[in-house]
């Protein structure tokens, strides 16, 4: 807990604070390049140059052509644009689509909407560790399959899918491959120059960039339909005045991220291990995800004999997530954990700790102690089971 706050934030998979360097750049842009990047006058050209620079920075992070990015309001919009936009433009070729049960709502709900519009969806179930195998994936592809969407890193569990292998299968079968990279871009290395990915969604606020800005990478030669209409901006695929400062912030955040991915990963690996060891002795713990692999910034654990909502309250002032951050108002057990084979009760007791750049070893020790105390307190309160 930092001195000036009354909580200990371990919810970096939900959103991250703005990097101070990025914040400062954005402030400069507010005065130096506030004009509309579409205006031909001097001020507008200056804004356009700032946007161009950000695209280069993002391209450098992902080894991608800077011209391949569309700016959007975030990964939710990118996912909608990519999935609905590609499915619709290819609908005359076939109406079968493939995805996974453990995708984020911003993917799941797009597919459900498409299902209502006459598309047929195959929903792959992962194994108990959260992975979809190449065999299952390939088996789901059909003659009329047009698009597959598989997330890179799962937001609840940190499970990492083998994008390279799945993408290669898509290429073989002439299926477009969309990846929701909201949890991976800026956090792990990605090389779009070699990865067989056609569409990649990302959002800046997950890697210490500003909120309200994301991007969709569209590989050369891939076509999609727009979601919105109006004005000629961004090849008519995504109209609206470009938010120059937000784009500059995304670009700067991409550059900062590129320079510290390895360092961050190493730190998270150590801290996650310490956290896991630190909570061990309450007993009855189960990691949701891959115990030994997975993105090290996330530790998702279920615990026996503890009710989830009370656990969260007892954990205060820890800010952690139960189930998906984007869905934390619902009391439903996480559908992601259910798909991994967890019971309702196991799923409901799940807590996601997610680590960030500011997280310290001292934070982890506090978090572990808080967790142990909370679990013990609730178990102490509970009556024996009778039935």
């Amino acid at each position: 807990m930092t001195a000036d706050s009354d909580f200990l934030y371990l919810d970096y998979a939900a959103t991250t604070p703005l990097d101070p360097q990025v914040a400062q750049l954005m402030q400069e842009v507010h005065t130096s390049a506030f004009a509309n990047a579409g205006s031909t006058h001097r001020a507008g050209r200056r804004s356009a140059a700032v946007v161009g620079r950000a695209a280069v920075q993002l391209g450098a992070l992902l080894q991608a052509d800077p011209d391949c990015f569309l700016w959007t309001s975030g990964a939710t919009e990118s996912n909608n644009l990519a999935i609905a936009g590609a499915a619709k433009i290819r609908a005359h070729r076939g109406k079968h689509l493939v995805t996974m049960r453990t995708e984020h709502k911003a993917v799941v709900d797009v597919f459900i909407a498409l299902e209502k519009q006459g598309f047929e969806i195959s929903w792959l179930t992962p194994d108990a560790n959260g992975h979809v195998s190449s065999e299952d994936f390939e088996a789901a592809l059909r003659e009329d399959t047009q698009l597959a969407s598989i997330m890179h890193i799962n937001n609840e569990t940190g499970v990492v899918q083998d994008i390279a292998a799945l993408g290669a299968i898509c290429r073989e079968h002439d299926v477009l491959f969309h990846v929701d990279g909201a949890q991976s871009v800026g956090k792990v290395h990605m090389d779009l120059d070699t990865l067989p990915v056609d569409l990649l969604s990302l959002t800046a606020h997950k890697f210490y960039g500003p909120s309200g800005i994301g991007a969709l990478y569209i590989a050369d030669g891939v076509h999609i339909e727009p979601l919105m209409f109006g004005g000629g901006q961004q090849r008519r695929l995504r109209p609206g005045s470009l938010p120059v400062d937000l784009i500059a912030g995304l670009g700067a955040a991409a550059e900062v991220a590129g320079n510290r991915i390895d360092k961050d990963l190493e730190k998270f690996t150590t801290l996650r291990e310490a956290l896991w060891r630190g909570i061990q002795d309450v007993g009855g713990l189960q990691i949701n995800g891959s115990p030994d692999s997975g993105y090290p910034g996330i530790l998702n654990v279920s615990v026996d004999d503890v009710e989830g909502e009370s656990l969260l309250l007892a954990l205060e002032p820890l800010c952690v997530a139960a189930g998906s951050a984007c869905n934390s108002q619902s009391q439903e057990p996480s559908y992601v954990l259910r798909a991994l084979g967890r019971s309702d009760f196991e799923a409901q007791s799940a807590v996601r700790f997610s680590l960030g750049r500011p997280t310290t070893r001292a934070d982890i020790d506090i978090a572990a102690a808080t967790y142990r105390n909370a679990v013990r307190k609730l178990r102490d309160m509970a009556p024996e089971r009778v039935a």
Partner: protein
């Protein structure tokens, strides 16, 4: 968006319950289903409830409501247990309507405790 789902009374009762535990050799009311378990124990002296304790497994509103019931009935005539109404607790703890069923389960538990006390003491 998230407003605080718990009012200050729920937070207080949950964080520092005064009546969590068991009355040794007391009468018992018990409830259990998928989402919660409540056990109330109490002893009565001269038709009045002397000690009343709860154990609970469930959401914070259930735990706080169990504590609230103990506070309400300690020192009161046993007969009042039979007339326990959830309305006051629902209001005091600002229990969201979708949790009404859980508070009704507490009501059942309180009444079965009343019955048990009557049978026993």
């Amino acid at each position: 968006m998230s407003a605080d789902p718990y009012n200050s009374r729920v937070r207080e009762y949950f964080a520092n319950p005064q009546h969590c535990g068991d009355v040794a050799d007391g009468a018992t009311g018990f409830f259990e289903d998928q989402g919660m378990r409540i056990r109330l124990t109490a002893e009565a002296v001269n038709g009045s409830i002397r000690d009343m304790r709860f154990r609970a497994w469930g959401c914070p509103h259930v735990i706080a409501a169990a504590e609230a019931a103990c506070r309400q009935f300690e020192g009161r005539p046993v007969a009042e247990l039979e007339q326990f109404s959830t309305a006051q607790i629902m209001e005091d703890l600002a229990v969201p309507v979708e949790k009404t069923g859980r508070i009704l389960a507490l009501e059942d538990t309180v009444r079965s405790l009343g019955q048990a006390i009557t049978d026993r003491f």
